[in-house]
């Protein structure tokens, strides 16, 4: 892009703008105040003719920077699409005429509003440069897969099938993980009637035979350094030697461990070998090899077996696992079938509180009943020895019999899955007390969790965790949203799941990993600003090394270099601008989004003097939720105050307090900040952005005191995209409150 900048403004008169506004006046504003080189108005700017006019100016006049004064930036994006040109849009339709009454009284303030938006648009576009894309790319196309269970092997095979080389690292001496220890697995195809072969042997063979896949067994990740497209990973092998691999992106499929059944003495685990967990039963089944299953204590053929569901799970007390492992019901059904298929006369009883067999699992459940497996809704209290046998003592919830008992040769505890997710980087450094009181039974030796990825990231060696040690993700619309760009976790490390889901998950994660390395190569951002070519730059000469950016970045993109300056890893960055908001000396910026692009808009607004009785209120609105909500309010023709001026921001986290102090110093009477819900159930698309922004804003109070302004002049509100009915009212109430309070004394300085 040539340094030669040429600015053009276009004002649309369609959709009633022509009737409601004085377009000529707007043109003058753009020329005189906006200092635009070319200014045109058009009856219907978004149609072919209008767009042609703009393209013609680009071609013949060499226009580089375009300001469109028409509808919302969310509308007509297909028409107003000029690649490699800076574009700003003044929202005259949804932002002005649709939210103002069509009356003579309103005409003046409406026009003022429109003129301000033109001023702001011009100011913004002038402060912009066209993003050139992150130059600091890397070209590695190899995927690193950590974990050699079905999830990891699936990721490896799918990546290879797509044409990408893979390095697969497995900490044990063999591939297959838990799945390789199964006798059979739950069926994943019609008919959903009987256990089927786990198919691990085939899968392992495929992996071993694949020239695209390099397998390291008995190996751990010693160090992961770099960023998507340019990771350098050290792999510590059995021999103690270190292998170094150039990696483009990472899939972490480190799976789960079984919940420790020793924490369940009440169920007799550890007291008698005839109480086993589900893995223990698989071992017995493999030993029996299709014949009758024998019990460990005396090798007697098992004639009666009881399955205790939710053992150490779904426990609200916090003593055991809070969650449900989602797979145990089907697994117990499968294991009960082991017995029934070998010998129909065996009594197999499953004791459950809620039987959870979603989808076609219902067929599997029915099939077990047909085979004579008995399902009893009850809550097991204890498992006690009874004359060589075991007695399962439970509360039969149907017959409401608190002293119900089943005598069984063997008892299987469905204990569930615990994610194997490495170091919890958010955990308080102080030694946390032993969980609950329950585990206290066995004196706890605190073993420091071993890191899985050993990332050299400033924010810690592993991916952040969500709840209960499961790795982080947005969890609903964007399950692959990760806080470590280019690193995707898959399988039971993310959520308890069975093999079918794990393999589906692995396939998805593989695509995201491939996408990440491809985008890194092109210098483009990953979700949610996918394709964004802008990236943060820092003026190091101004940096005070306060470290706020490196600490706050929700994606751990910023490290510190040897001179303790922030080191931006652009391809880890998600372009939310939190670093920019955090920086007290304002040295961080994006080409098309900076302290200046927003600051200039704030300053561009025309502030009437304090006797005008026309307050000005600045609204900084999250572009993902608050801004669309305002648009939809406008589409509904829900009116709101003409005193507000709205500036969309990438995220509340990108709001730099300077904007607020500048605004107040410049004579604004109030500032509304509209961001997404933060906290555990966060709705911020940058995960922690709105939370960090809020934390920062909580400190603005002192500044206000310093200026001896009322604290209410800055109003932080949580806004959801559905608030289009309530938002206008909240704005109007605030405007009224400001009028009540009186205008700011800082005008005209």
């Amino acid at each position: 892009m040539a340094d030669e900048k040429k600015f053009a403004a276009y004002i649309c008169k369609g959709c009633g703008l022509g009737e409601r506004l004085d377009a000529d006046a707007l043109v003058k504003v753009a020329q005189k105040e906006g200092k635009m080189n070319v200014v045109r108005q058009h009856e219907f700017l978004c149609n072919a003719d209008g767009v042609a006019m703009i393209k013609n100016d680009i071609a013949s006049e060499g226009v580089t920077h375009i300001m469109i004064g028409a509808c919302s930036r969310r509308a007509k994006t297909d028409a107003f699409n000029f690649p490699n040109h800076a574009l700003a849009r003044a929202n005259l339709r949804e932002g002005v005429i649709w939210i103002r009454p069509h009356t003579d009284e309103a005409r003046e303030t409406t026009q003022e509003m429109a003129e301000d938006y033109i001023r702001m648009g011009c100011a913004e576009v002038k402060a912009m440069t066209v993003p050139g894309g992150n130059p600091n790319t890397g070209g590695n196309r190899t995927l690193l897969v950590v974990g050699g269970g079905p999830t990891g092997m699936t990721a490896a095979l799918e990546a290879s099938k797509t044409g990408y080389p893979v390095v697969l690292v497995e900490k044990t001496g063999a591939l297959g993980g838990w799945a390789a220890k199964l006798w059979k697995r739950i069926p994943v195809h019609e008919p959903f009637k009987a256990p089927v072969d786990a198919g691990m042997a085939d899968m392992i063979a495929q992996v071993e035979a694949d020239p695209n896949i390099k397998v390291y067994l008995n190996a751990m990740i010693a160090k992961s350094d770099g960023a998507p497209g340019r990771f350098v990973v050290d792999i510590a092998t059995e021999s103690g030697s270190i292998a170094t691999e150039d990696i483009g992106a990472i899939v972490q499929a480190t799976g789960f461990d079984l919940y420790d059944a020793n924490k369940l003495p009440e169920f007799g685990y550890g007291k008698t070998p005839d109480v086993v967990d589900q893995a223990g039963l698989e071992a017995l089944a493999r030993a029996a090899n299709g014949g009758p299953i024998k019990r460990p204590s005396d090798g007697k053929e098992v004639k009666s077996v009881a399955f205790v569901q939710c053992a150490g799970q779904r426990d609200a007390s916090g003593k055991h696992l809070t969650y449900c492992s989602g797979t145990c019901c089907n697994i117990s059904i499968k294991q009960a079938m082991y017995f029934k298929d070998a010998n129909p006369s065996v009594d197999a009883t499953v004791i459950y509180t809620d039987l959870r067999t979603p989808g076609n699992g219902e067929d599997f459940y029915r099939s077990a009943q047909e085979k004579g497996v008995i399902f009893t809704k009850g809550k097991v209290a204890t498992v006690t020895p009874a004359g060589g046998n075991l007695s399962v003592n439970f509360h039969d919830l149907i017959l409401d019999d608190k002293n119900a008992q089943i005598e069984a040769d063997l008892v299987v505890l469905a204990t569930g899955q615990v994610p194997n997710s490495g170091v919890n980087i958010d955990a308080a450094p102080v030694e946390e007390p032993a969980q609950g009181g329950g585990a206290a039974a066995a004196p706890q030796v605190k073993i420091k969790p071993i890191s899985i990825l050993n990332l050299t990231y400033r924010q810690g060696p592993d991916v952040p965790q969500f709840k209960w040690g499961f790795t982080d993700s947005h969890f609903i619309c964007f399950p692959y949203e990760t806080r470590r760009t280019g690193i995707y976790t898959a399988g039971p490390v993310r959520r308890p799941m069975d093999m079918l889901q794990a393999r589906e998950d692995a396939t998805g994660a593989t695509l995201k990993a491939i996408q990440a390395l491809e985008n890194a190569q092109l210098g483009r951002a990953a979700h949610p600003r996918s394709g964004d070519l802008s990236f943060p730059t820092v003026r190091l000469e101004g940096c005070t090394q306060c470290k706020r950016c490196t600490v706050e970045c929700p994606f751990g993109a910023i490290d510190e270099d040897e001179k303790r300056f922030p080191k931006f890893n652009e391809s880890r960055c998600r372009r939310c601008g939190t670093c920019m908001g955090a920086c007290p000396v304002r040295v961080i910026s994006f080409e098309n989004y900076s302290v200046n692009t927003v600051g200039a808009q704030i300053k561009a607004v025309n502030i009437p003097d304090e006797f005008s009785e026309k307050p000005r209120i600045l609204i900084l609105a999250c572009e993902n939720d608050a801004y669309p909500a305002l648009d939809m309010a406008a589409m509904n023709r829900n009116e709101y105050s003409a005193y507000v001026r709205v500036v969309p921001v990438r995220c509340l986290g990108s709001v730099n307090t300077i904007w607020i102090t500048d605004a107040l110093n410049g004579g604004y009477d109030g500032v509304m900040l509209m961001g997404c819900k933060s906290g555990e159930e966060y709705q911020c698309h940058f995960v922690k952005g709105s939370e960090l922004g809020r934390y920062r804003l909580s400190k603005v109070g002192d500044t206000l005191k310093g200026m001896n302004l009322e604290a209410e002049r800055v109003f932080d509100m949580e806004v959801a995209i559905t608030d289009m009915h309530t938002l206008p009212k909240k704005i109007n109430d605030y405007a009224a409150q400001i009028v009540e309070m009186g205008l700011s004394p800082f005008k005209g300085f």
Binding site: T162, L511, N519, N624
Partner: protein
């Protein structure tokens, strides 16, 4: 004539719901060209008709906004709305799909200014709200509609009303002479993401859906709670518009039932648990919810959501499949009859409104997928080599919640990419 540039390296995605959009966007953001075909006038699908998601109680439109932004920013996805795939010929790496395009009667000149809607008087059922209210016959499908372009209901096209609409449009956006057309699109791989439909509640006779106005389905309940919905977010019951404060939720309405859907629809338990929040949200003081269930299937990380609802005194759980519903003719209330199986307690409980947690039926069921595809006994698309390069995604492939549907769609995108990459290598 709609023109679409597509080759054997193009991926055809059928269905513009969250699964289809995800598959299309993930493929496009990996550098592939995609044609996305949606049969309704706008994208978003069934999730866009939900008020909130479990377990975060966030709003589906929030994720939709992001996906639409991704779409607007991505030239690699070609979106066709009001378009239905009627046939797919060929084999992996070389498919030709016939796509029937129904006229919208509004062209890309439309600025969504709404002048046509102001001009038109005729009202038609609003499908976005499951027909719970009516809308102008010239309409924007919903506030988030993409493309953001109005639609003329075919019923008015050749009438005076149609002419009124045309006259009202300053931008020559209305074309009353548009006709149905069928185009053919080449594709190397097809992702089938046509989602699900609620099971026909009227078939569950003892519950009297259709006989009793105040028996509604869970999907309809979402519309009642949604500020964008027919009641502006107030839970007003259909019979008399009275605010429903005592609401019952009946699980397995159609699911887990040999007489109806044999499979478990997976989402209904969580949906009802979520919807008890709506009742409390609207009536913090005197809202009351009752859930009738066989097993509460709050699977894996959702369990604590269940535990929170259990702790809520305004929600009660009864382990029972309701036997039948009767009507209290004097109050308009509906009465659930049955037996609490935990200890055999009989009940006949009167409620303002009863919500059937309606089962999930794959949309491919009944529709004959124009390619011979392997289904499971419930009509979901099975993953099977016989399907060639036609990949089921989301709820067309299984009863899934949104999160799992998106995972499935992302996986399907990779499978499709593998096929077109092979084509590319061959052609290179």
């Amino acid at each position: 004539m709609t023109d679409v540039v597509a080759t054997n390296e193009t991926i055809l995605v059928v269905g513009g719901g969250i699964s289809g959009m995800t598959a299309a966007l993930e493929a496009a953001e990996t550098g592939k060209n995609v044609v996305l075909v949606e049969k309704s006038p706008s994208l978003g699908g069934r999730t866009s008709q939900l008020y909130r998601y479990f377990p975060k109680m966030c709003h589906p439109t929030c994720g939709l906004e992001i996906n639409l932004r991704r779409l607007k920013a991505n030239p690699r996805v070609r979106v066709l709305t009001l378009a239905e795939v009627t046939g797919v010929e060929g084999a992996a790496g070389n498919y030709t799909a016939s796509v029937k395009i129904t006229p919208r009667y509004v062209n890309e000149n439309c600025t969504a200014c709404g002048a046509c809607a102001d001009a038109v008087q005729v009202m038609v059922d609003n499908p976005f709200n499951y027909g719970l209210n009516k809308m102008k016959a010239a309409y924007l499908p919903n506030a988030m509609a993409f493309p953001q372009r109005y639609v003329l209901d075919s019923s008015i096209v050749h009438t005076a009303e149609g002419e009124k609409a045309k006259a009202a449009c300053k931008y020559n956006a209305i074309e009353l002479d548009q006709e149905e057309e069928t185009i053919s699109i080449k594709a190397g791989a097809v992702v089938w993401a046509t989602g699900w439909q609620p099971y026909d509640a009227a078939k569950i006779q003892p519950y009297g859906y259709g006989r009793f106005k105040n028996v509604i389905t869970s999907v309809e309940f979402e519309r009642l709670a949604d500020p964008h919905g027919p009641t502006g977010g107030k839970i007003l019951r259909p019979s008399d518009g009275k605010e429903a404060k005592n609401v019952a939720f009946i699980q397995c309405a159609g699911s887990r039932d040999e007489n109806h859907l044999r499979h478990c629809s997976r989402i209904c338990c969580m949906a009802s648990l979520k919807q008890t929040h709506y009742v409390r949200e609207k009536h913090p003081q005197d809202g009351k919810s009752t859930i009738y269930y066989i097993d509460i299937r709050a699977i894996d990380r959702f369990e604590d959501f269940y535990q929170k609802v259990q702790a809520d005194p305004s929600v009660s759980f009864i382990k029972s499949k309701v036997a039948r519903i009767t009507l209290n003719e004097s109050t308009g209330n509906v009465v659930a009859h049955g037996v609490n199986t935990e200890g055999y307690k009989r009940y006949a409980n009167e409620h303002d409104l009863i919500v059937l947690a309606i089962g999930m039926e794959p949309s491919v069921k009944g529709v004959n997928i124009p390619a011979d595809i392997v289904f499971d006994s419930s009509g979901f698309i099975e993953a099977d080599p016989a399907n060639g390069a036609v990949f089921g995604a989301g709820c067309a492939s299984n009863a899934l919640d949104v999160n799992r549907a998106v995972q499935s769609a992302t996986a399907a995108a990779l499978r499709a990419i593998q096929v077109v990459n092979k084509v590319a290598r061959a052609e290179a």
